[in-house]
Amino acid sequence: MSARTPTEDIAIVAVAQTPAVRRYPDSEPSMLMDLTNRLLAETGLERSAVDFTIAGSCDYLSGLPFAFVANVDGFGAWPPVYESHLEMDGAWALFEAWVRLQIGDIDVALVAGSGKSSPGTPREIFPLQTDPYTSAPLGLDPVSTAGLQARALLDAGLATERDFAEIVSRSRRAALSNPNAQVKKDVAVDTLLAAPYYASPLRKHDLPPISDGAAAVLIARGDRARELTKKPVWIRGIDHRIESHHLGLRDLTDSPSTRIAARGVGVHDGPVDVAELCVRYSPEEVVLRRALELKGDTLVNPSGGPLCAHPVMATGLVRVIEVAKRIREGSARRGLAHAASGPALQQNLLCVLEGEA
């Protein structure tokens, strides 16, 4: 490995997200247009001052090949723009934009992630993410895989069902103060534990809601970042890693890909005041806390996390935004954002953010 620390300082200068809702009545491009206009208004930038645009979305959510093509209408591609698209969460689009700015010839990038799960049935669509020959025909869906992961944690004595319920209770309560959350409630652990199983040992509340939503950020390089905001949030590192697709080759109680990425971004080179983790199923928080070796003084998912709002393809980028917001507000100085893709946390991305020293 010869990855090295970037020499260019790149910061998030503005953030925007839609609320996560069960069904957004308008189109995906309309969400992106709204976010783009908000980012440009906040920074006072003309569209032409954005040097590079990159978005993450997924055709299969809309059930329409080339669904992403319409999204360029949303973020304004006239006159023509320098643009790209990943069929991944917007957090990976942020990774590519951050790498792109490090070349040093351009200064400002617009990054977006968007998804509408409402047109389809996620439990029927997501098995198509699995191996097309061995798993997809069986309909192995993310809920079932998360159940297997939960069972592995219980069997290994690394967690109890009460632990899962505590994660849900804490997250739902935290979401009460998040205007963008879809599910929020002050609910006792014992009440949760009294609910029936949905995919044993998971109960329905251990799952994320089905959401529509979008998120976008503007990032800028060096002095340009300082011109555009009084409160730049510096990206100190982004690393992402993947694990084998074959569940039988993985230890589902651990996340080695997260461990490698954590070293790559230097998670513990400073205090982690806040961590926004892509906990789509409550047991994933147990796995991630272990892999990240988070200490008790780290505030985890003060937004409520994906258990309370899960706009697929934007969920990871929302984690980045939630950390950046806390740094801008001054309630945290250094934080960690995490994004995930694939069954049972197969692929993980980490981003370390810092306010001005």
């Binding site: 997924c58 723009v81 070349i103 993410q129 993947i242 080695p256």
Partner: protein, 385 residues
């Protein structure tokens, strides 16, 4: 901190109607291994992997980097996936190049593929709706418009169809090998979308194409001559709006201008030795010659007609046989970038353009609204004629 990027390994599968002998994993691994062998590198030498393909619906596999990562040696590494419609193969190569140029990664594998026999490409290309007119149906009116604007004679399209298929006979990886093709046969093949005949259209292929990209340090260790990435550019515009020039889209013009400016090219027709242009339907050869400022408006078809775009011509286009001879959609743009690199490395075998030092790789996609291009050269600081 900018680093130079070089192509040091190239690998392709044989393209064919149906690669029933391999799984999706087997298909991508075949191209990846060939690229690594060409670079004399192993999986452990890769710092990151960037893959690209057209819609997931073509094979029915959602976010395929998840199920292909084992076959691509990506476990424990970064892998990400690009999707920019038909331009995706070139966009993917450019994404991978930026990883190297950023200084963050030394050696990156980039790969584009499609296994179109797994699904119905014309269905998927029509947005998954019934009654699809196919890609040709979308482009045919714009081609007709080009013919009206330029006054080009009808035989230009037939001529490109014959030239690219004869070139493909020299390329062992090409899908279509049609030794008996003639202008007459193209003209008499069924009319699919006026003015496009069956033999003026690309095939539907299975296949994968891969490159190993690395920095200056990596290029010094390379066993074969590197192709240096001199410049790349991408541009996108809306699918439709009143007044849009669909024959010569502004995004294609802007993309070419940005590319040539970055490369220091002032006279592309003289200074570029060979071009691999994305020509899925015959008429797009003259259309892109004009649309990317290689010649003036109305001159593209004259270049084709005069034989300038043949391998021995003054401005060879698609000596590999092009998209008209192999079209695994997600790979097609990657193949254009890869064949351009192969020409300046001097490794293009039977379709090598003599003395090629500077080459253009190009792809477009969507409603002719996505453009991705790169210039590669045998010298990291080329001097142009």
């Amino acid at each position: 901190m900018a680093e130079r990027c070089a192509v040091v390994g190239i690998g392709q599968t044989k393209y064919s109607r149906r690669r029933g002998d391999v799984s999706l994993e087997g298909l991508v691994r075949e191209a990846a291994i060939r690229a690594l062998e060409d670079a004399e590198l192993g999986w452990k030498d890769l710092d990151a992997i960037v893959i690209g393909k057209a819609p997931d619906a073509l094979e029915g596999v959602m976010m395929p980097e998840l199920s292909l990562c084992d076959a691509l040696g990506a476990v424990g590494k970064p892998i990400h996936r690009v999707h920019t419609a038909g331009s995706v193969g070139a966009s993917t190569a450019i994404s991978a190049a930026t990883l190297v140029e950023s200084g963050r990664y030394q050696t990156v594998l980039t790969l584009g593929y499609e296994k179109q026999s797994e699904g119905n490409a014309t269905w998927a290309l029509g947005g998954g709706r019934s009654g699809s007119q196919g890609a040709g149906g979308s482009f045919a009116p714009w081609i007709r418009n080009y013919i009206q604007r330029s006054g080009a004679p009808e035989h230009i399209g037939w001529k490109v169809a014959v030239k690219d298929r004869l070139n493909a006979l020299k390329n062992p990886y090409a899908h279509l090998h049609l030794p008996d093709i003639t202008i007459e046969k193209v003209k008499e093949s069924p009319l699919l979308w006026d003015p496009l005949h069956f033999l003026e259209s690309c095939p539907s292929s299975d296949g994968a194409a891969a490159m190993v990209l690395t920095n200056t340090k990596g290029a010094k260790r390379a066993p074969r001559p590197p192709a240096w990435v001199i410049a790349h550019a991408k541009r996108t515009e809306f699918s439709q709006f009143p007044g849009r020039d669909t024959v010569k889209p502004a995004a294609g013009v802007d993309c070419a201008k940005a590319l040539y400016a970055k490369a220091g090219i002032t006279d592309p027709r003289r200074q570029i030795d060979v071009a691999e242009l994305y020509v899925p339907f015959s008429w797009y050869e003259p259309m892109w010659l004009e649309g990317h400022l290689i010649c003036d408006e109305g001159q593209g078809w004259k270049m084709t007609d005069a034989g300038e775009t043949e391998i021995e011509g003054a401005f060879p286009v698609n000596p590999s046989g092009g998209v008209l001879s192999s079209n695994a959609i997600g790979a097609s743009g990657m193949i254009r970038c890869l064949e351009a690199a192969s020409q300046v490395r001097g490794t293009a075998g039977g379709y090598q353009v003599d003395g090629a030092k500077v080459a253009l790789g190009h792809a477009y996609g969507g409603a002719a609204q996505y453009f991705a291009m790169w210039i590669v050269a045998s010298d990291p600081e080329p001097t142009y004629r």
